[in-house]
Symmetry: C2
Subunit: 188 residues, 2 copies
Amino acid sequence: MSRWEPNARGRLAEAALELCGERGYEQTTVAEIAKRAGLTERTFFRHYADKREVLFGGSGALQELFVNAVTGAPESAAPIDSIAAGLQAVSAMFVGRREYSRQRQALIVANAELRERELIKLASLSAALADALRRRGVAEPAASLTAEAGVAVFKVGFERWIAPAEEREMSQVMRESLDELKAVAAGG
Amino acid sequence: MSRWEPNARGRLAEAALELCGERGYEQTTVAEIAKRAGLTERTFFRHYADKREVLFGGSGALQELFVNAVTGAPESAAPIDSIAAGLQAVSAMFVGRREYSRQRQALIVANAELRERELIKLASLSAALADALRRRGVAEPAASLTAEAGVAVFKVGFERWIAPAEEREMSQVMRESLDELKAVAAGG
């Protein structure tokens, strides 16, 4: 990354969201995204493999944050509690980004390709969490089931957090969603 | 469907699995699948939209069976217990199909396109289950969380059931996986 392109990744992501919101995802080209961001196509491809990827620029960081929180939870923490710590960690990433998240989600829901990519990212998150849990000594199938449960809470909690008129912080929504999962699993 | 093509769907699915197993998914064409099944390409496309779809021919039936079991569970059943009934219902579909399921899974795991399609089918199953639960009067987010939990158990249980040397019936593996999910949710 050259010093003439400060925060190129973020600028490209913002430009992509703007343009796709205006024209639709399919009608937007990489060249237009780069231009809107004041950058070149070549710079675009230094940061993102393709047009889909620019809308998922944060998912690597999200996964890392989630996994690190699970890994760093106290040794005595039950698997589900280490997942709870992960949900709190990722919630911090979304502070102040509800409107951005709403716009992004609207694009994803409207496009089959983007929905596919989203599902792949969530499956990758689940695999990474299961791996982190196994490294904490959690056996199978508990590790995979806890990881899947964590991703389910994240997914459902995220949808609630971006719902119209929702104003609670993501951290609170995630806490409540996890409690709700526990309640339904217990036969509530 | 003409009377000269008995069980064309099943024959095409078997032929596809065989050929893809021999040559790889990408190297197999629709024409070859149809030929191996003793049918024409035209017949193939009467039954399946594309080459990917022939490997997912059972997923509509699976979803229907799962949803019907949830819908038909006793009114007094807790949401998670109606999901348990669904897991038992779909297990019946797989009796005698472990080796087929192993071959199919090996193909899916090896191909990104097929993994995507699989994730889409599971997301569709989850949405259909959430819908069935809401029709039973289950509120959100409990409905979505229970549905996601059910799909998580199905996914993890399925992987265990097809593991090498696994010999227990799917119904038993699903029961144990659901119990395990309840245990991890309870902080076990």
